[in-house]
Amino acid sequence: MTHGETTCWTMIHAAAAGDAAERSAFAARYEPAVRAYLIARWGRLSDAHELEDALQDVFLECFRQGGALAKADPDRPGGFRAFLYGITRNVALRFETRRARRLARNADGEHVLPQIETSDDRLSQVFDRAWAQAIMRKAADLQRDRAASLGDEAIRRVELLRLRFHDDLPIRDIATAWNADPTRLHREYAKARREFHECLLEVMRFHFPESPAEAERECEKLLEILA
């Protein structure tokens, strides 16, 4: 992990301080969840420009001096996920208010306010699922990074996971393709899963630096969300 020694909070602080690399990394990490939320709320055909602007606003809100970050509490229930969810929701509401005013000012009478998904439960689920997916992909990235430093065996295990879950191939077919012993390959597969799990916990610790137990509970929760 590139920023293994940092936490999300320190990352935000660095980004807020103007560190371009941190800002870019932060946005890359959390953008999918925010985008998923906005699309779920406004519809897939929402104005692309407006959606991009809202995305930007979410991150600016995080980085702004004296903004949401200043009020953020690292110990709050739900951790950083709940924090980002709150900011995203507030930014979306602000855009909707602006849009309503613009419609009232300019509409020919032929337009109505766009349909907006307002069920917080559903939006929260969408956000959480996108969040979980982003975390899982981050864990996969970390596993690839580590494998690169560990050597061919480790890289082969990552490839095994890719074939299993991307190409949907059973282990025995992969063994046939690789001309490998299926039993041995099963053990490699189990090891690859454990390595993934470790990477996942590592990513979780990034968000819960003070409490490994909390990180593990969050990990369980995310898997439950995806299941």
Binding site: L45, A48, E110, H111, P114, A130, P170, F196
Partner: protein, 866 residues
């Protein structure tokens, strides 16, 4: 279960599988991932060539507002073809307009897609393709360019076009505080619209739905016409210009339906927007819709610019009704009251003409008018600027003059030159304005003269021809009043307008007098005849003469100068005879002069030999005159002039025959039959004929003629009532009741009709309705005696025994009522009139009518041929 247990077979997988699938599996299709691959992305991936040019955002106004969702696509669809979708802008009956972005070229587009419900309808698909092809082939700055025609999933055609960033003309017009605001700006926009439509018309395309909401205006005034969904490609035969070279007359626009016999428009269906729609389009006359239909819509838009409202305003049904009738009177009133330059309102009025022939032939012709007007406006403004500049220069020069004499001379020369230029410019501009106004007035003069000629050639009661002539005259009058017109044209116009006014006044008077006699003479009560007498006097007075006081010569001269002297003489004659009937039949003597004396102007004005000879006999009908000479009547009946004599003269001849009591009434019946054959649609002639038939007891024949009368004038109460009386005599009481009730509906306060209703109800044995009718008659009369008189008048229809008793009883009752009536002249006069009525009824009863002769039996084919 431990999800990380490596002993578990992968088929049973745990929750970790979900995490692994999210981590390593394909991207979830939830919108989290980026947009679908594009040409640029593909090249980037394959060759590492990355290009992302992004220009500064358009500054020509906001893009259209759009809904982020559309139910025309599935939620999972984020793009069509190579366009990334961003919401729905608008929707119509045929298509939905989506906002999209061409990710490769980095530009926003509007995508019009056929709605799902029409995807299986070949006609709608064809129409949609036609719209795309028309818009795609019309290449003009005022028409949105079409970028691409495509199809989604093999059944939903779409086309991508430029995304307009601006506002509709409808919005801009609505936001004005008053119709006059920013007039010049809106006229310039209108000129651009006309130019665009001139191009479309030149290529054989009519839009058919021009209206402010289909006109987009950008921040810099650029104007574009949108929505060609109802556009029609004119075939060679429907182009309104004629004489084109055969090869040039090929279809200017080729579409999928070119040469297809399938009709784009369904005859009889209304397509378009009623408030801007010409009558031919509103009536669904598809074949008649051409460039001039668009010209009407352009006129409606100009009307909205000038007055704030289009051609038709009001509630939905009202607008549709007016559009179908082509009733633009309200729009014309608004234009005239708008205070706008008449040269401009006349342009709008010409466009709004009901008859397409009277509109500019296409948008090109209209553009010429509008552009010329705006150029003149510009020239006037320029001249004013020059004059102001000259004045300023002069003032400055005067200040300097005190210091430098030499400079004074030079500067003065300069000032003079400038002022001279200004005056020259103004004079030149004035000359052009005079020439243009004279040209317009000259065209209007020709049109008015033509319409007046047609109207004069038509019958006086051809309202449409006369209304067209009057409208053309009004237009001419406004043009003459509006601008500087050459004297020659002005004097010709004045003469024509005077001619038109006189002819129209004549026509109106004749129509009015026709109505007076038809409404009044079909009744036979004193009040109806008094009203008829009053109405005649009033109508003549309104036409400029008091016939009660004017000299015979003056009246004769007035009759002679009419466009239709013989008809006016006849109207005057009917008034004279109304007075005579009041005196003779009802004992009401309103005029001191004798019948013949009052008729003197007629003899002076109308010297036609046939009519003079007839009148010589007619005026012997008066009691104090000589006896009618039947031989003279026979000569008149045999005169070749009979065939061309007016219907009224023939009716008079028939009446003279009857009054002469010639044996068997042969001559009279013959005259009426021939006359009715000559004038089958003349109401009064048929009515007189029916009256004569009824007198002869030929009720069946009379009812047939009366049926024709009510068909000719269903609004005349007396005709229905007379038909009812005749039907009652034929014992067709139910039909009689219906006819009488129809008469009551047309004239609900006419007491005698309720008496007839009472009699008919009695004859049917319906005492309830009879009592009700009698009560109503009494309430209208306000005096039971009057009702009783009316009952007596009906008695001759009943048995002789019954008549005798009733009439004598009625006279006794009237004698006793004399003492109860108020002691004033009116009451005495009324009572005397009733007494006269009773005595006439007795005389009538005692008169012995001859047996009905053979010829009076129903017509045979031989009779008809005669």
């Amino acid at each position: 279960m431990n999800p990380f247990d490596d002993t578990q077979p992968e088929e049973t997988g745990g929750r970790l599988d979900a995490g692994l699938r999210a981590a390593f599996g394909p991207a979830d299709d939830s919108g989290v991932e980026g947009w679908p691959e594009s040409v640029v992305a593909t090249l980037d991936q394959a060759m590492g060539i990355h290009s992302r040019v992004s220009l500064r955002d358009d500054s020509d106004g906001a893009g259209p507002l759009c809904r982020p969702r559309t139910d025309e696509l599935e939620d999972s669809e984020g793009r069509i073809g190579r366009y990334q979708l961003a919401g729905e802008i608008a929707r119509g009956g045929m298509g939905v307009v989506l906002r999209g972005r061409d990710v490769d070229l980095g530009r926003d587009v509007a995508i019009k897609m056929l709605r799902g419900r029409h995807a299986a309808n070949p006609a709608m698909v064809r129409r949609f393709l036609e719209e795309a092809q028309i818009a795609g082939q019309l290449q003009h700055p005022g028409i949105l360019p079409v970028y691409e025609l495509g199809v989604r999933r093999a059944d939903r055609p779409y086309f991508a076009m430029k995304l307009v960033k601006g506002r509709t003309l409808a919005t801009l017009l609505r936001e004005r505080r008053a119709p006059g605001d920013e007039r010049r700006r809106f006229l310039t926009i209108f000129e651009h619209v006309c130019q665009t439509m001139a191009y479309a018309h030149a290529r054989g395309v009519v839009h058919r739905d021009l209206k402010p909401s289909n006109i987009m205006v950008g921040a810099f005034g650029e104007t574009q016409i949108v929505d060609w969904g109802l556009a029609k490609v004119l075939g060679r035969s429907s182009l309104s210009t004629t004489g084109e070279d055969e090869t040039q007359a090929e279809r200017a626009i080729e579409t999928a339906r070119s040469g297809d016999s399938g009709s784009q428009s369904i005859a009889g269906a209304m397509m378009g927007t009623p408030a801007y729609m010409p009558v031919e389009q509103a009536q669904g006359a598809v074949a008649q819709v051409d460039e001039r239909s668009d010209v009407f819509a352009l006129g409606a838009i100009l009307c909205e610019i000038l007055t704030g409202g289009p051609a038709y305003v009001g509630a939905g049904d009202e607008v549709i009704r007016r559009a179908k009738q082509g009733d633009v009177s309200d729009a014309l009133s608004r234009l005239r009251a708008s205070g706008e330059d008449p040269l401009l309102t006349v342009i709008a009025e010409r466009c709004l003409a009901r008859n397409p022939e009277d509109r500019p032939r296409d948008a090109g012709a209209l553009t010429t008018d509008v552009s010329r007007y705006l150029a003149d406006l510009e020239a006037s403004a320029q001249a004013a600027k020059v004059a102001a500049a000259a004045a300023e220069a002069k003032a400055a020069e005067e200040r300097r003059a005190r210091r430098l004499t030499i400079a004074l001379a030079a500067s003065l020369f300069f000032v003079v030159a400038l002022v001279g230029a200004g005056f020259y410019w103004r004079a030149e501009s004035q000359r052009e304005r005079v020439a243009e106004a004279t040209g317009l007035a000259g065209a209007a003069l020709e049109r008015a003269a033509s319409q007046l000629g047609q109207a004069k050639a038509s019958r006086a009661d051809d309202d449409a021809a006369w209304e067209a002539a009057v409208a053309a005259g009004e237009q001419l009058e406004r043009l003459i009043a509006a601008g500087p017109v050459e004297e020659n044209t002005r004097s010709r116009a004045d003469a024509l307008l005077a001619d038109l006014r006189a002819a129209d006044a004549d026509r109106r008077l004749l129509a009015l007098t026709d109505d007076i006699v038809q409404q009044g003479a079909t009744h036979s009560d004193v009040d109806s005849w008094k009203q008829m007498d009053d109405a005649y006097v009033e109508a003549f007075r309104d036409a400029g003469i008091d016939v009660r006081t004017a000299s015979d010569e003056a009246i004769a001269a007035w009759i002679r100068k009419s466009e239709h002297p013989e008809r006016l003489a006849n109207a005057f004659e009917l008034w004279v005879w109304t007075g005579e009937d009041l005196r003779h039949r009802f004992g009401v003597d309103r005029y001191t002069r004798s019948l013949r004396e009052r008729a003197t102007p007629i003899f002076l004005a109308d010297t036609d030999p046939f009519r003079t000879k007839l009148r010589d006999q007619m005026y012997r009908l008066a009691p104090e005159s000589n006896t009618i000479d039947v031989n003279v009547l026979r000569e008149l009946a045999d005169d070749p002039a009979f065939e061309t004599a007016p219907a009224t003269s023939l009716s008079w001849l028939g009446t003279c025959f009857f009054s002469a009591r010639e044996p068997d009434f042969v001559g009279g019946m013959r005259v009426y039959r021939r006359a009715v054959a000559l004038y089958p649609d003349d109401f009064l002639l048929n009515s007189d004929y029916a009256r004569m038939l009824a007198m002869l007891g030929k009720d069946a024949e009379a009812s047939r003629i009366l049926s024709r009368c009510v068909a000719l004038r269903p609004d005349v109460s007396g005709a229905w009532r007379t038909l009812g009386i005749t039907l009652r005599k034929l014992e067709s009481c139910q039909e009689a009741i219906e006819a009488i009730r129809r008469a009551i509906s047309l004239q609900p306060d006419h007491m005698p009709t309720y008496v007839d209703l009472w009699l008919t109800c009695v004859a049917m044995g319906n005492l309830t309705d009879a009592t009700s009718a009698l009560d109503k008659a009494k309430s209208l009369a306000g005096d039971a005696i009057e009702t009783h008189v009316m009952l007596m008048r009906a008695l001759p229809e009943r048995s002789p025994m019954e008549r005798t008793g009733q009439l004598e009883r009625a006279i006794a009752l009237l004698e006793s009522a004399r003492s109860e009536l108020p002691d004033d002249a009116d009451s005495r006069s009324l009572l005397d009139a009733w007494m006269t009525e009773c005595r006439r009824a007795i005389e009538y009863r005692e008169a012995t009518l001859p047996e009905v002769p053979e010829w009076a039996m129903p017509e045979t084919s031989d009779e008809a041929s005669r």
